[in-house]
């Protein structure tokens, strides 16, 4: 899927053009403060992402998967959710996490290697553990959504996954189960054109959104670099879910501007031209142009956002780099609610304590 294909995809929902001009009904029910909040979150996210790359280089984080370019897709969609909803992320959703209010330092324990994908409280934050085996989390989202439906709660599960993840059997089983049980779930695909080095055309022969028809629920494509469009389609899908009308599949067309991870060398499989073309569609620049044109955010406001983000990230860095490894005992503490005798003995042998 080349950039031009996406640019001309008439069926793709877009409200704000790359130049910041409105091309659709931009009155998506958000007041000035919300609009400013969206920008503030994207700026923070971008700033944190940059910092994480630095922290990784400095040995403060293990392998890190940057999300630069996908801020609108993540912030716009997560912003459409309420505290009663539950997000089932993959491994690149740090921007969505901070939008949900997950503490950045705690989240980054995962990338620091001091704990696995669930260092924060998933239930309290409404943000499930970081999930590495791609597409498996979509099934969890459907199970959670079924549970919410059985409870009669007007709550919705939103699962993030990538274009490559959608090739897994678990994507299909989750989507089919969601359709059959009519659960309140949003299947949110961030199509960022690449799965590590595998381009979209080697991953799927049709749009991911086109699969929804086969499951009996709506599917649509949205400009993933248009935060307003992402917000509005997600908002509609969430409403639909909460009111009992069932699941929706959203394919957000975006791009991973950075490498797959700090261990990746993207120059091996894609051109600088391609990356440059996508930088020109930068989601933050676009939204800044849009907001300033409407007088919702002037230069000063953007500067303040950047300043706040810098200050915040400094705190995050300070707290994070102070984090030591967990006590060895934690190796044994969590596998079972109470350690069986055989495990207690292994613990004793290894740690020499009771």
């Amino acid at each position: 899927m080349s950039l031009s294909d996406i640019a001309d995809d008439a069926s793709m929902v877009q409200l704000v053009a790359p130049d910041g001009s409105a091309v659709g009904d931009v009155d998506v029910g958000l007041g000035e403060e919300d609009l400013q909040a969206l920008l503030r979150l994207m700026v923070r996210a971008r700033r944190l992402d940059t910092e994480c790359l630095a922290l990784q280089r400095q040995g403060e984080l293990t392998v890190y998967p940057p999300f630069e370019g996908q801020e609108a897709a993540q912030v716009g969609s997560a912003f459409a959710l309420g505290p009663e909803d539950m997000v089932f992320p993959s491994f690149r959703e740090l921007a969505a996490a901070i939008t949900r209010g997950v503490d950045a330092v705690t989240y980054l324990e995962y990338h620091r290697g001091t704990w696995h994908g669930g260092p924060y409280d998933p239930v309290a934050t409404g943000f499930a553990p970081i999930c590495v085996p791609v597409a498996t989390q979509i099934v969890h989202a459907v199970g959670w959504a079924l549970g919410a439906k059985l409870d009669g709660r007007a709550a919705c599960a939103l699962a993030y996954f990538g274009d490559g993840s959608a090739s897994e059997g678990d994507f299909h089983e989750a989507a089919n189960l969601a359709g059959v049980f009519g659960v309140p779930a949003v299947l949110f695909c961030q199509n960022n054109a690449w799965a590590i080095s595998v381009p979209l055309e080697e991953q799927a022969a049709a749009p991911i959104a086109a699969r929804a028809a086969g499951y009996g629920f709506p599917g649509l494509r949205v400009d993933g670099n248009d935060v307003l469009a992402v917000y509005s389609v997600t908002r509609a899908a969430v409403e639909r879910a909460r009111t009992g009308d069932g699941p929706t599949l959203i394919e957000a067309m975006t791009y991973r501007v950075g490498p797959h991870s700090t261990a990746d060398d993207a120059t091996r499989y894609r051109t600088d031209e391609e990356v440059a073309a996508w930088r020109a569609r930068d989601p933050i620049d676009r939204f800044v142009r849009f907001l300033s044109a409407r007088g919702v955010a002037d230069e000063g406001f953007v500067e303040r956002c950047r300043g706040e983000a810098d200050a915040w990230v400094d705190e995050v860095r300070a707290e994070l780099t102070a984090l030591g490894p967990p006590p060895s005992a934690e190796l044994f503490d969590h596998a079972f609610s109470s350690p069986p005798a055989t495990l207690a003995r292994q613990r004793e042998e290894l740690l020499g304590d009771g």
Partner: protein, 324 residues
């Protein structure tokens, strides 16, 4: 003290759990109107409704994965995989998530999930219907694995598994579904993690689980006729393993034979033998013998008898061990 089969005892356990705990759910392929291909869920949908007891599409990974999400939402899922050989598509969800979720979340998100799997051979089933999957589960850290040997213990173990805060893989020996017993259905008695000594004897300790327990007892009777007295231990719980009971018994007797249907290599017999050596080395008079299925795929019906441990093979192994 009604007459029960393992099928009716399991049905009662599910029924009692559904009654006592409104958060329990029963689902899987054909568990609704049909009552499951083995009728273990018979009448449950009628009596508890389509919200608590429901069919799923044929999607084992989906079934296991939904258990994770449902547990996160505060439910206690009791899922059925239709047969041993069809539990494999769910292995990734079980190994990567069900077993790891509690650890991943530092204990914040427990997984009170039971996955029931009609298992093992001996019913002249087609390919994939006679598998012994216990090693795949027992080696996976974070899971508990139990196998009842009779109807009364099936009731007890299933109730305890459903109440357990950790994920439990519940393997049901199909070939023992139908024999009748009489007795009281109760959760009193040995819990998960405890083995049962079903017979005392100072010549040799026979260790088995599931359908092999009855064969061990039968072999013990044969041997007793010639004055060879065997102790028989029903493992019940493969994880956690009751090392104390096994080790203690072998320390007293000095000889042991382990029996299972699964292939020899890395079957439970390997772990039991290794533990016995660790626990009772100084008392061991002979190497621990393993009477198991051979290292080949489970055979078609007409070769099943050759494949499965027979009373004769168990008797022979005991004689060799005692004569060692």
């Amino acid at each position: 003290m009604a007459e029960v089969t393992m099928v009716t005892a399991l049905n009662r356990a599910l029924r009692d759990a559904l009654e006592n705990d409104p958060r329990t759910l029963v689902f899987g392929q054909d568990v609704g109107a049909l009552g499951g291909v083995f009728r273990v869920t018979e009448g449950l949908q009628r009596d508890f409704g389509r919200e608590r007891v429901f069919n799923t599409p044929i999607a084992e990974a989906g079934i296991a994965g939904m258990c994770v999400g449902l547990a996160m939402a505060g439910w206690r899922p009791i899922a059925e995989m239709q047969f041993d050989g069809f539990s494999y598509p769910a292995l990734d969800q079980v190994i990567s998530h069900l077993a790891k979720y509690r650890t991943r979340t530092r204990g914040r998100v427990p997984m009170p999930v039971v996955i029931r799997i009609p298992s093992f051979g001996g019913i002249k089933g087609k390919e994939h219907h006679g598998e012994s999957p216990e090693t795949y589960y027992a080696h996976t850290a974070g899971l508990k694995v139990v196998v009842p040997a009779d109807a009364l213990d099936a009731y007890r173990l299933l109730r305890l598994s459903i109440e357990d805060p950790d994920p439990v893989i519940f393997l049901e020996p199909k070939s023992r579904y139908w024999p009748k017993t009489t007795g009281e259905l109760t959760t009193d008695g040995p819990g998960i993690g405890r083995a049962r000594s079903l017979r005392q004897g100072e010549s040799c300790v026979l260790v088995g689980y599931g359908a092999m327990v009855a064969k061990c007892l039968e072999a013990a009777d044969h041997l007793a006729d010639d004055g060879v007295e065997c102790a028989v231990i029903d493992l019940r719980s493969l994880v956690p393993l009751d090392v104390e009971t096994i080790g203690g018994a072998v320390r007293d007797v000095g000889r042991a034979v382990v029996v299972h249907e699964a292939p020899l290599t890395l079957g439970m017999g390997a772990e039991i033998a290794a533990r016995i050596m660790e626990e009772a080395f100084d008392n061991l008079q002979a190497p621990v013998a393993r009477v198991t299925g051979p290292d080949v795929p489970y055979p078609p019906a007409s070769l099943e008898a050759e494949y499965l441990p027979s009373v004769e093979r168990i008797v022979e192994a005991v004689r060799r061990t005692v004569a060692y």
